[in-house]
Every structure is written in structure tokens, then in C-alpha cells.
Symmetry: C2
Subunit: 128 residues, 2 copies
């Protein structure tokens, strides 16, 4: 069914695995995301290939993340922590952070508020 | 390890299944949540018992939801849609919405922005 054939509610429903949905961005080598912008919140469904490394960066927008699959190590504010499926974390405005995936890769939901303006169009890199 | 023994980063990491974390709220019969407030975003980890019904309500805060386990039917803006694990959805400001869980119950991550002030302390009900 095409977008035009859906009801209003169906157009507000997405799926983590529906590769055709969202605004595509390559955050780094082996790190691809699909961006879903709202008014106050932006979601980012990020797939890390095994051992992919997301470089340290920072931005003014508050961020939360949720590890949905795989494993990873989070770097944030000069510390590191190993994360397991079901862990979620808060990254305050301006705190430098990065991520490296474990041997099986990782699937992560990132949440930004306010939405990151540089992520409103397809592109590359972490922005900021 | 007590909270006081953790590093700053460990205090920003939570888990979906860690029942002691978060501000508790009973949203309705068989619907319990744990609230995690940030500056611009508030997360709510909601457990629906089998067939539990979250009544229609609305609020000015934008909301997103993600179905992590189980199944449910979302009512929103006068429409209904059946949801599967991995589905996520956007509920714009002010649009009436509700949820009923399937036979196996449901685990849902709700995301609010701005944070809902009535959810900053333990309590009951959907507020608004």
C-alpha cells in the first residue's frame, strides 16, 4: 500500500526494521541510521556493524539511547561503560560521547530533543 | 553497589528491567510505569498486563512510543491500528490516544517532550 493509501494513523507508525522509512544518514564507517523527526523529539534508529566505532562528538541537544540488540561500550564525559540489551542512558547537552560496537554489532534507538537540524536531510557524519 | 559508589556515567545508565529504577506510576488497572525525566525529554517504561486497557486521554506534550514486547492495539485520533514488536509511533500534541494490550501483555517505551510535569512524582492515572 502506498503512503497515499494509508489512514492518518498508519502514516504515524513506523518499524525498527523497515529500511525504506526515515531519512538516511551514514554516521561513520559501518554506522548507518534512519532519522524520524517530530516537533520536539527526533528519533534515530542506528545500526552498528560489528566493532564499528562512532567517534567522540558533542552537541547542544539532549540525547537518550536504548540498546535494542548486540552490545557496545559507551564513552561519555571521559568515562566508559559496557552496555547490554535493555540498557538505556542519558547524555546531557554538550557532554562529549562516542560508542563502539561489540563483536555482533548493535542496534540502538537514539532520542534527541530538540531535534538536530543538521539531521533533517540525508547526509554523512555526526554533525555538530 | 550503592548510587553513591557509582561513577557519573553509571548514574546516567538504566535498564528496562530494573524495577527499582524510575518514578513509579500506576496508569490504570494492570498498567504500571517507571518514569525517567530529562531536561527536554521524559521516558516512561510501561508494562501492560494481558488485555489491560489504557483509557483514551490527551495532553499537550508530543509523544512517541515503541513496542518492545507483546502486542497491542493503538487508538489515536479516532482510528485504531494493531501494533507488532518493533513498531514505533508518533502522537502529536493534543491528539486523543489509548492502548489495549493483547493476550500476552505488552512492554512499551513512551517518550514525552517536553517532560510531563504531573509525572515528576509517583502517582496514579494518565494525568492531563
Amino acid at each position: 500500500m502506498g503512503e497515499e493509501g494509508k489512514g492518518a494513523l498508519a502514516r504515524e507508525v513506523f518499524n525498527l526494521r523497515e529500511a525504506a522509512q526515515g531519512i538516511r544518514r551514514r554516521l561513520g564507517e559501518g554506522i548507518d541510521t534512519r532519522i524520524f523527526p517530530g516537533e520536539n523529539v527526533m528519533l534515530s534508529v542506528v545500526r552498528f556493524e560489528p566493532s564499528a566505532v562512532g567517534k567522540l562528538h558533542s552537541h547542544v541537544e539532549e540525547q537518550w539511547g536504548l540498546l535494542l540488540e548486540g552490545s557496545c561500550v559507551r564513552s561519555q564525559g571521559g568515562e566508559e561503560i559496557e552496555l547490554s540489551v535493555g540498557d538505556f542512558w542519558h547524555s546531557p547537552s554538550g557532554v562529549p560521547h562516542g560508542m563502539r560496537a561489540g563483536a555482533e554489532g548493535a542496534l540502538i534507538l537514539d532520542i534527541f530533543s530538540p531535534p538536530r537540524p543538521e539531521y533533517l536531510k540525508p547526509g554523512e557524519g555526526f554533525g555538530g
